[in-house]
Amino acid sequence: MEAAIEIRNLTKNYGKKQALSNVSLTIPQGMFGLLGPNGAGKTTLMRVLATLLKKTKGEITVCGVPIENNRQIRSMTGYLPQEFSMYGNMSAYEALDYLAVLSGMSKAERKVKVMKTLERVNLAEKKRTKVRAMSGGMKRRLGIAQAIIHDPEIIIVDEPTAGLDPEERIRFRNLLCEIAKERIVLLSTHIVGDIEATCENIAVLNQGKIVFQGKVAELLSYVEGKVYHVEIPVTELERVKEKYMVTGILTTGTSAGVKIIADEKPFPQARWVQADVEDAYMYLMHRESEALSVYRE
């Protein structure tokens, strides 16, 4: 059986509100990034995949198993919710052991795995620290530990790097990449940098719809040759921002270095620069909102 998540025409409604509409997506092995602004439906999609929400319409299979087989899906999946926490009075070891029991692991398995997994996420030394005394980063690491301890084929992590300091974030990303070698890791974020550093395949979700799906390189090709850098006086800044799509500003004294996305060269003195994923993402979202406003008119 090929290891992949297949989503066909998935729709999820909350009452009248449509959170996901007609989403079709193939998620292959490796790291897969789900990008989108807040409220785009990322969490909803992930919770449907983690069997915590029932879909309204559509079909989903996870490594060939239909999503309706709750139990089997749950045993194949490790899920790290956006707000992960555990009982405050448990130590790191106890909490992980407790969740491992809930994943159906035997005593012998747990004896080996709990410690090993704690080592893997760098919590071995803190195994006696109570959950209530943990920092945000430690909690996240415990969260990833509980998601991988039972060797699931699929790992779903929702905004894993939110609230981490830069060093922690990089360590966390590396950990995820390492884990993703032999399985599917689905990662959602609104921090573009996370995706750039880790994912080969990505999808962009906006207002419940998939607006892009493919390789990072493909997304970059959207803005290839359209990103410029230009030095302008600070007084010009407002005018430029109104006219062009600005993805970066660095003010030094009276002049400002501005990064602009434009189909044609905006200023004679502008020079062409290498586009990054953030530019491509901004371009995409901009295009989407324009398309939407045209549609509304």
Binding site: Y14, G15, K17, A19, N38, G39, A40, G41, K42, T43, T44, R47, A50, T51, L52, L53, K54, N70, R71, R74, S75, T77, Y79, L80, P81, Q82, E83, F84, S85, M86, Y87, G88, N89, M90, E94, D97, Y98, L99, V101, L102, S103, G104, M105, S106, K107, V131, G143, Q146, H150, E159, H190
Partner: protein, 383 residues
């Protein structure tokens, strides 16, 4: 896997302050009640001898005595214009208006005007029905009530039978354990609520609900391990105290030459208290899982305390009451006549408890597939 989960749940409960309070309050309460008056009665236990002036009291089924006693009670309540009633199982004092009072006095006069030879039981019943209409439901003038509440002094023969039964069929310890169950049952109608509510809300409080939902363990296992762990730990001080308080009785039995029933500390509370704990804890689980709130505290406290005030007698009259009272040492003959009623009552609560747990499992599984709320809006803040 279930065993491991069960042990972990036990450990969690042992660490919770609510459990600690439970143990302290339970032990203090039972100990204070039983060391005060409980066994003292027992110490005066003596085989009745012919020629004593008083042998204690017993409930009578003699119609003339019932009429006499009931009418005396009526006269008393009419003279104060205060009638004790238990319409919903709770005490409710009723005062009549002047017009109603006149009618009540008339009825009383009709009955007492005649001598007891001429007042037939049928006439008496008719009069009582009318009184019931005046004071409302649940008074002591209902047939079921007055036929079971008139006490008369025992004769030597009755007292001797009572004594023999206490020593032979109850073997002392059983009677003692019934008194223990009477007191313990009071607190156990309230305290397990808090254990259940606090466990039910802990996942949410700790923000661990989502991640626990996402694990492969079946809802049955999750809910049942929690329930059984809490049930076991709730029972722990109950049986320990039963054993501890039974010891002096067991010794006492030896002294009067009776072989006490050593296992009474297990058997009597198992029948008497276990179904009660099961029901109270299970309902707390159910309400908490269903509403995700502390609603169970209010509902069940009213149920528990209300039932306590509601008892029209402290001995027997089990009906379907949550707290089965037996505030007396002995009365073995009376008890054996009511034992079946108790079994039905306790069977009902055990079944009720099981049903509540099953419903909790169902609700748990449903919530799991629906995010975290059972009804209303699922979280709108969706990133």
């Amino acid at each position: 896997m279930f065993g491991a989960l069960f042990l972990k749940e036990c450990k969690q409960t042992l660490k919770s302050p609510v459990y600690l309070i439970y143990v302290v309050v339970f032990v203090l309460f039972v100990n204070s009640q039983l060391s005060n008056d409980g066994w003292r009665e027992m110490q005066e236990l003596q085989e009745p001898m012919p020629g004593q002036s008083y042998y204690g009291e017993t409930i009578t089924h003699d119609k003339a005595l019932i009429m006499e006693g009931t009418l005396a009670n009526l006269m008393e309540e009419v003279s104060h214009n205060s009638f004790a009633t238990y319409p919903l199982g709770f005490y409710k004092g009723v005062n009549l208006t002047e017009k109603e009072m006149e009618r009540a006095k008339e009825i009383l006069k009709q009955c007492t005007g005649k001598s007891f030879e001429t007042l037939t039981y049928e006439e008496f019943q008719g009069a009582m029905e009318e009184i019931c209409r005046l004071v409302g439901k649940g008074s002591s003038y209902e047939k079921k009530s007055y036929e079971n509440r008139i006490y008369v002094p025992m004769t030597y023969e009755q007292a001797k039978t009572e004594y023999d039964q206490l020593c032979i069929s109850d073997r002392l310890t059983k009677a003692g354990m019934r008194l223990f169950c009477d007191y313990a049952g009071i607190v156990l109608s309230i305290l397990p609520i808090f254990i259940g509510v606090s466990r039910g809300l802990y996942d949410k409080r700790a923000k661990a609900q989502q991640v626990i939902f996402s694990k492969s363990a079946l809802g049955v296992k999750v809910v049942l391990s929690r329930y059984l762990a809490n049930l076991t730990l709730l029972c722990l001080p109950v049986f320990t105290m039963a054993f501890y308080l039974q010891m002096p009785l067991y010794e006492m039995a030896k002294e009067v030459g009776v072989r006490g029933d050593f296992w009474a500390f297990l058997t009597v509370p198992s029948v008497w208290l276990l179904p009660e704990i099961m029901a109270v804890l299970a309902l707390a689980f159910l309400i908490t899982e269903f509403t995700d709130s502390i609603l169970a505290v209010f509902v069940q406290t009213v149920w528990g305390i209300g039932g306590l005030f509601g008892a029209s007698t402290l001995v027997g009259d089990f009906g379907l009451k949550l707290v089965a009272r037996w505030n007396t040492m002995g009365e073995s003959a009376l008890f054996s006549s009511m034992e079946k009623e108790l079994f039905i009552n306790r069977g009902y609560y055990a079944a009720f408890g099981v049903l509540c747990v099953l419903l909790t499992v169902l609700i748990y599984e449903r919530k799991r597939g629906k995010g975290e709320k059972l009804y209303g809006k699922v979280r709108e803040t969706d990133h």
